[in-house]
């Protein structure tokens, strides 16, 4: 069995972690396990490693390492520092972060405080989604009269959002 990280050496370290009832397995060669600090079980979280592996696979696929359009941060930088570059990185690297956040926290969705203006934005967003859904249904049902009305409402809402 080959090492999940370098994919050249034989794996000699086999790790299993159970997170929220899901079993995750990682196989590592001697060198990679040392590099990842696996020898020290206290300073090591499987999730950190999994994210790193995701990055390694991506590079292998030939895709140039993803870069945050706002701050220029890359996944390799995250592997190095354990910190992100800016708030937009959460969108840029959403895929890899998903599993990491799930492993780190109690839940995957924020339920606490948000800035006042966020509540307005969220409410507008919800209304927009509902109207778009209705519009699609109306068009599918060839009900052009209500579709036209819905389109006007969407325009009105977009105007509100822009304020």
């Amino acid at each position: 069995m080959l090492c999940d990280v370098c994919k050249c050496n034989d794996a000699t370290v086999f790790l299993t972690q159970i997170l929220e009832g899901k079993m995750q397995k990682v196989n590592l060669c001697d060198a990679c396990s040392k590099e990842k600090g696996v020898q020290d079980p206290t300073g090591f979280a499987l999730a950190d490693l999994l994210l790193g592996i995701g990055a390694a696979e991506e590079i292998e696929k030939g895709a140039p390492s993803q870069k945050c359009p706002v701050c220029g941060f890359t996944q390799a930088d995250f592997k190095k520092t354990g910190r992100l570059g800016c708030s937009v990185c959460y969108v840029t690297f959403a895929e890899g972060l998903g599993g990491l956040l799930k492993a780190m926290h109690k839940g995957t969705e924020h339920v606490g405080k948000l800035p006042q203006r966020a509540h307005r934005e969220i409410e507008l967003g919800d209304r927009m989604r509902a109207l778009t859904d209705d519009l699609e249904k109306a068009v599918a049902a060839e009900n052009y009269e209500s579709a036209a009305a819905l389109r006007d409402q969407i325009k009105q809402l977009e105007h509100e959002k822009a304020i």
């Binding site: 706002v70 701050c71 941060f73 930088d77 520092t81 354990g82 910190r83 992100l84 570059g85 800016c86 708030s87 937009v88 959460y90 969108v91 972060l97 990491l100 956040l101 780190m104 926290h105 109690k106 839940g107 995957t108 969705e109 924020h110 339920v111 606490g112 405080k113 948000l114 800035p115 006042q116 203006r117 966020a118 934005e121 969220i122 967003g125």
Partner: protein
């Protein structure tokens, strides 16, 4: 306000008057916030960090809570001054390492301190004496609500507040309490308690936070996770756990009085002897011995009016406080000598431990069961 004022006014939480203050030294709540579409401090170049600082600092200084505040750029503070602030838990060790592009602003009472460009653009912290997590949160929450109207904070409808480290995302809140647990340490039950606390998703750390050693039987307990739970739920959960630990600590102290009294009086007597007569002492030894004397005050072996001088020594014997008050830079040996001297002087008027006072107190019904002390 100048640094000398900060040094002179001890800070409200150091006086130790809050609820459960015998065991809970302080309660702290901090919120992490960042500006939208701006590089986090660890990734931003110096010019951008300075720009961000110039955006945030005036908004913080004009807060009603920051009337007559202490506001300094980190590059304008000496290494010793930074260390004093770390020893008072007003800035983090990480922040003390910062220079150009970072600042600290705190109120006169030293109950609110705001770090600009630590790991996040804003780290707002409220610190209170005793177990007062709720009121600490209330203060920092109010400041956050005032600032969000003036600063464009980064958030996501699903992930909440966005922070440099994914471990803080969501509420961006870390609530913690500093506990003094000599009873649990002496009765060798502390590891059990730490393990139980870890199991329910709370972290136990040493005196200065992550990666620091537990000295002076002082432990910090804080929430580990920030996503998926409301702020008040986190605080309630933490408060309940702390109340349970307070009970366990009381139980452990009673157990020591009843079953291991010889060990207990020996520890208190030795601590008193060494502190009164030693001529060289490291800060670690000082903290460990002062902790035992503090326990002695709690149990009644020393008069209650001796509590404040002991509490003050906890902070005054820390390396930076020692050097700042003596106004000179000292090497480790000189510090140990000066530390022992200060402790000897303050303990000169300190009465010898009086064990009979302890026995009487427990017979008076401070514990539910009758005692069989000889």
């Amino acid at each position: 306000m100048r640094f000398s004022n900060v040094m002179a006014t001890g800070g409200e939480w150091l006086r130790g008057e809050g609820p459960h203050h015998q065991i809970v030294i302080s309660s702290r709540v901090r919120l992490a916030r960042n500006l939208r579409q701006r590089a986090f401090p660890g990734w931003a170049k110096k010019a951008e960090r300075t720009q961000i600082l110039e955006l945030i600092k005036p908004r913080v200084e004009e807060l009603p809570e920051m009337q007559d505040s202490f506001s300094e750029l980190l590059q304008d503070l000496s290494a010793l001054e930074k260390q004093v602030l770390v020893e008072r838990h007003l800035i983090s060790r990480e922040h003390a390492a910062k220079s150009v592009g970072s600042a600290v602003i705190m109120n006169r009472r030293q109950t609110l301190s705001i770090m600009v460009n630590e790991e996040d653009h804003l780290r707002m912290q409220s610190i209170r004496s005793g177990l007062q997590l709720k009121s600490a949160f209330k203060l920092v929450d109010k400041v956050d609500s005032t600032l969000e109207a003036k600063l464009d904070f980064a958030y996501d409808a699903r992930l909440g507040y966005l922070t440099a480290c994914p471990t803080n995302v969501g509420t961006g809140m870390r609530a913690s309490a500093m506990l003094h647990l000599p009873g649990l340490v002496l009765s060798e039950m502390i590891n059990q308690v730490i393990q139980a606390v870890n199991k329910i998703g709370l972290a136990v750390r040493g005196l200065y936070g992550e990666g620091t050693e537990a000295m002076g039987n002082l432990f910090q307990i804080s929430n580990q996770t920030t996503l998926g739970e409301k702020e008040d739920e986190i605080i309630n959960r933490l408060s309940k756990v702390i109340e349970t630990i307070i009970e366990k600590e009381h139980d452990a102290r009673q157990m020591l009085i009843q079953k291991k009294s010889n060990t207990l009086w020996d520890q208190i007597g030795r601590a008193y002897g060494v502190l009164t007569f030693a001529h060289a002492m490291t800060s670690k030894e000082a903290l460990n011995l002062l902790s035992i004397i503090k326990l002695g005050v709690d149990l009644g072996a020393f008069p209650e009016d001796r509590r404040l001088p002991i509490d003050e020594l906890f902070i005054d014997t820390q390396p930076a406080h020692l050097q700042k008050s003596s106004q000179q830079k000292l090497n480790a040996e000189e510090r140990d000598h000066l530390r022992a001297q200060i402790i000897r002087e303050r303990l000169r008027v300190f009465p010898k431990p009086d064990i009979s006072k302890v026995a009487r107190e427990s017979e008076n019904g401070s514990t539910p069961e009758p005692q069989n002390n000889e």
